[in-house]
């Protein structure tokens, strides 16, 4: 085993082979991962591009796409939590979505787990690829000037990624930096002997606790942990059991993986084909009509992977 080169999320090949984008992406991730960080003793988190890690185990960390903080805030009023979730600034579990409506009814929901870092590196190295990608994902109307400011700086909150559509995260703490950073946190756990001792854990999201606690139990076993390659935030599963059409029969498969691959989905769309005489907003989940994107997000499973093992001498 040797140190690794960080690959793109889901092994995306948006840029042509040989593009400087790929080396730039590796450098971007390596910049975000610390070489060695002590976690719950005695193990630690390491940068696998620097530390030669003999991988023994791989762990899939899963959490729910809908905001746990909103559910806790509106503990007795779930509709209020869903209503509040339509604002992307509170879509905090590393899943953001854009709802398309026609005459008030939801016709399509687009979910993404793509990070702003990826698009910033594309903008810096392959601006035409960036533009082509935006045009494919959102609208042929996109212009490069909409995406890149003076001096070539990428504009993550451009209109095609906010009011008019969605390409990647804009919520301030949804990012590759935050996912990797939380994975290196040690909050209350340095001397913990089990997962009860770090309580109360301060972060309220399901994702952050999952990323941290799962690393801590592994480092307490004396293992070193590192981001799986390719690092990323992935949709790993979704569950439409008990969802029904207007006639009460079970829904068909209306999901489309628009970017990524099985187990590493980056962009997921939910839309009823035009051949049907109803739309997403006519579907009921457990007998309740879909009125917000959050009601669908609640049934999407997010994930990040970690590898664990021993550092080679």
């Amino acid at each position: 085993m040797a140190t690794i080169t960080f690959d793109t999320p889901a092994h995306l090949r948006d840029a042509p082979a040989g593009s400087p984008f790929y080396a730039a992406w590796h450098r971007e991730i390596a910049r975000l991962v610390n070489d060695r960080v002590p976690l719950s003793r005695p193990g630690r988190s390491v940068d696998p591009s620097v530390v030669d890690l003999e991988v023994d185990e791989e762990r899939l960390k899963t959490w729910t796409g809908f905001s746990r903080p909103l559910l806790m805030e509106h503990r007795d009023d779930r509709p209020a939590a869903f209503a509040a979730s339509e604002d992307r600034s509170v879509q905090i579990e590393y899943l953001e979505w854009h709802v398309t409506r026609t005459d008030g009814a939801i016709t399509k929901i687009t979910f993404t787990t793509e990070t702003p870092e990826y698009y910033a590196v594309l903008a810096a190295t392959e601006p035409q690829v960036l533009l082509d990608l935006y045009r494919r994902l959102v609208s042929p109307q996109v212009q490069l000037a909409d995406l890149v400011g003076a001096g070539g700086t990428y504009k993550p909150r451009n209109k095609w990624n906010t009011t008019l559509g969605i390409v990647h995260y804009i919520m301030p703490i949804n990012s590759m930096k935050d996912m990797l950073g939380v994975s290196e946190e040690i909050q209350n756990a340095a001397d913990a002997r089990d997962n009860f001792e770090p309580l109360p854990y301060q972060r309220m999201t399901g994702a952050d606790a999952r990323l941290s606690f799962d690393n801590w139990v592994m480092t307490r076993r004396g293992l070193s942990v590192a981001p799986w390659n390719p690092p990323g935030l992935y949709i790993v599963d979704w569950d439409d059991t008990g969802w029904t059409k207007p006639d009460g029969t079970p829904v068909d498969d209306y999901w489309t993986v628009a970017r990524g691959a099985e187990g590493m989905v980056l962009r997921l769309e939910y839309e009823v084909p035009a051949t049907e005489d109803f739309v997403v907003g006519d579907i009921a989940i457990g007998g309740r009509p879909i009125t917000t994107g959050g009601e669908v997000a609640e049934h999407i499973v997010l994930s990040a992977r970690t590898v664990a093992g021993r550092e080679s001498p």
Binding site: N195, L199, D237, P250
Partner: protein
């Protein structure tokens, strides 16, 4: 050669006979707990905020099957339909003084344990007969009007079990067994208005009480829609479910005490200087704030298990201290289960009992795999301070217990960390429905305490475990579990655990569906899959081709405070 399921079934009674025999007398390994110290009560302010103290009025108001639970060997579940509302109100006035309260059941439990300890026997000869009541959303509407029924904030309760059935993974194809249209009670248009649970230590007492209840109800225009007798299985399977495994070992402890006597709702056994004494009532039994089960009482804080959060607030004022009751009649295909188990065990080169125990997470006696990975351990199973004392992700440490007369201590092998599910698979039933110390898809283990329920189920039907060569008629007899559980949110507790954990392959941890109670209905495909460790240290993915646990009835109900039964619900309108 694949083991004959009938032989495996027959051997189960032999396998569990020893530990159950051990329960006959107290010993160093089968502790009978002492009565709690009368005026101790939970610590106030020492380890955190004070726990609730319930005065006489409150103790008489909370139904005793909610806290601390009837735990009787014989029970009848009566599903009733209302007639003329005035007749129903008259019946409620008759029933009101007959409902068992928390105070009454706690006092009985306390005296029972003291008597067991004093006599040194399992059965000290005390008996009682108790009754509990719960109403469905339509039932409350019939008595108080639709607006009052709709004042319950719990959406799932308002919808009812039948409407949520396929969301829980029940078959969506009406032709399949388990589809709501074929339920014996609780299907669409067949929801009960009320569920009465009568419980007794003695069969004759139960029969008398049920006859009285039915006679009084029918005389006032109610009809018995369906009635199901439940009984603990006969020795040596007492306390086991029909597949042959000890059931109900793990229950949350409820924080709080009676105001006068200081009698705790859940007895505490950890020494005050044990670092976990504020978090656990006894080893492996976490303390949970009562509002997780009783409306309006302080609930779990989402982050800090030692601090209470505000109670649920969306319910009519009269419903305070009531509790939602989920009831599911679950048929068990015992032969089918053991056929599947025998086939897989043969393929993996292990014994059927060992393989089945991996699916459950406990051996038939109730001994946890985490503490006895290689073989069943009746002595461990019989030790109530050891049989539930284990973590999944980290090494489990010994607990310091307060002095307990007659108990020599937990000297069993401690559970070792099993982060990757090599001993107890992530799909094992007990690991799916209660991940304990593990992080989950909803975060830290503080969140898991918000998902726990008070389970009050009991088996129904004649057991087939222990029958060497069951006839086809015996095999076809209805048998299963009357699942009953109390909680303050159906959606955040029962439905959450069922759908998000038992029915999912990736939550709370990657490893597959719960092979015991998990359900899947993907465009009619009901096959489930899970991963188990193999004897050579690897893992293998297996598929369960069909359901062994099939829903056949039930309902979502609300167990009102007793004062409301004789008050607002029975008041003339």
């Amino acid at each position: 050669m694949t083991a004959n399921p009938s032989d495996v079934l027959a051997s189960l009674t032999e396998a569990v006979a020893t530990p159950l025999a051990n329960l006959e007398v107290p010993s160093a390994t089968t502790h009978l707990p002492a009565a709690p110290v009368a005026d101790a009560g939970p610590p106030e302010g020492a380890a955190g905020p004070a726990e609730p103290r319930y005065d006489a009025e409150a103790a008489a108001d909370i139904q005793g099957n909610v806290v601390p639970g009837f735990n009787k060997d014989h029970q009848e579940f009566l599903f009733l339909r209302f007639g003329d509302p005035d007749g129903v109100r008259e019946w409620l006035r008759w029933l009101h003084p007959r409902l068992a309260s928390m105070g009454e059941v706690l006092q009985f439990r306390d005296e029972f344990r003291s008597e067991r300890l004093r006599q040194g026997t399992r059965d000290p000869g005390m008996s009682s007969t108790w009754t509990a009541l719960a109403l469905s959303h339509p039932g409350i509407g019939a008595l108080l009007g639709q607006a009052e029924a709709d004042a319950f904030g719990e959406h799932s309760f308002r919808q009812g079990l039948a409407a949520r059935s396929t969301y829980l993974g029940d078959p969506s194809d009406p032709a399949r067994p388990g589809h709501r249209d074929s339920w014996v009670v609780g299907g669409p248009g067949e929801e009960a208005d009320a569920l009465v649970i009568v419980a007794a230590d003695r069969d004759a007492d139960l029969r008398t009480a049920v006859d009285d209840t039915v006679a009084e109800a029918t005389a006032r225009g109610l009809t018995v829609q369906f009635s199901q007798r439940g009984d603990t299985l006969p020795e040596p399977l007492q306390g086991h479910e029909h597949f042959g495994f000890k059931d109900g070992v793990s229950q949350p402890g409820v924080r709080g005490a009676l105001a006068g006597s200081g009698l705790e709702l859940t007895p505490r056994f950890l020494a005050a200087d044990d670092s976990r004494s504020a978090l656990f009532a006894k080893p492996g039994q976490p303390l949970v704030w009562p509002g997780q089960f009783l409306l309006g009482e302080p609930r779990q804080d989402p982050q800090d298990p030692l601090r209470p959060a505000a109670g649920a607030a969306t319910f009519p004022a009269w419903a305070r201290r009531g509790s939602y009751l989920v009831c599911r009649r679950l048929d068990q295909d015992v032969l089918g289960f053991w056929e599947f188990v025998a086939s897989c065990a043969d393929e993996l080169g292990t014994s059927p009992v060992a393989f089945a125990s991996m699916l459950v997470g406990r051996w038939p006696t109730g001994a946890p795999l985490m503490r006895s990975p290689d073989h069943d351990d009746p002595t461990l199973a019989g030790d109530e301070f050891a049989n539930n004392h284990f973590l999944f992700d980290d090494d489990t440490r010994r607990s310091r217990l307060a002095p307990i007369p007659g108990y020599g201590g937990d000297d069993h092998r401690l559970a070792a960390a099993d982060v990757f599910g090599r001993l107890c698979p992530h799909a094992a039933h007990i690991r799916k429905v209660n991940p304990r110390d593990s992080a989950t898809d909803f975060g830290a283990p503080a969140d898991t305490l918000m998902r726990l329920m008070l389970r009050r189920g009991i088996p129904y039907g004649t057991p087939i475990a222990g029958v060497a060569a069951p006839t086809p008629e015996q095999a076809a007899e209805p048998r299963g579990l009357l699942f009953a559980a109390y909680m303050s949110s159906i959606e955040d507790q029962f439905e959450f655990v069922s759908r998000r954990w038992a029915n999912a392959t990736t939550m709370p941890n990657l490893g597959g569906h719960d092979p015991i109670i998990g359900q899947r209905d993907a465009a009619g495909d009901r096959a489930r899959s899970f991963t188990v460790p193999t004897p050579d240290g690897g893992t293998v993915d297996l598929t369960v081709p069909r359901d062994f646990v099939v829903p056949s009835g039930g309902g979502y109900f609300f167990a009102p405070p007793i004062s409301a039964v004789g008050g607002v619900l029975a008041a003339d309108r």
